[in-house]
Symmetry: C2
Subunit: 85 residues, 2 copies
């Protein structure tokens, strides 16, 4: 059993309206030191596999096929052994 932590971010050249809105709200609240905000997604997956290499291949494919949009997003992930529950 593995726990995969997947981080999905917009590519640097892609416009990020959500990030801009958050930045505006933070400025309104008085956090004027905030210079840039980029919003992304964080997904935790529990994978029932015994081999690290296979789990890694699977998570990579999940990201490419469903979790991230490779046209506008980058993704990276970490795998760590997890206890089944």
């Amino acid at each position: 059993m593995y726990l995969a932590k997947v981080y999905i971010t917009l590519k640097p050249t892609v416009n990020d309206p959500q990030g801009l809105t958050i930045k505006g709200a933070l400025h309104t609240l008085g956090f004027t030191s905030v210079q840039d905000v980029r919003a992304g997604k964080y997904i935790e997956l529990k994978i029932n596999e015994t081999e690290t290499a296979k789990a890694e291949r699977e998570v990579n494919e999940m990201c490419r096929k469903l979790l991230a949009n490779p046209v506008i997003e980058n993704f990276r992930f970490e795998l760590q052994p997890a206890q089944s529950d």
Copy 2:
């Protein structure tokens, strides 16, 4: 200048319909080894501060006041020095 990486996750006891939907979609695509999915947010902030302690305090307050909903969400963040651009 600091780069803050903020991870926001739903508390373990909170129902996560988005995660369930992703899990269902992954199963449909043939990734049947996926046992659990939790969806969260990942936010990168550039903070124009010179002191680590002050930047840390600010990011913590931003999370509590705007970025996370402390009733149903947990947050954690990492700070690292960043180049201004």
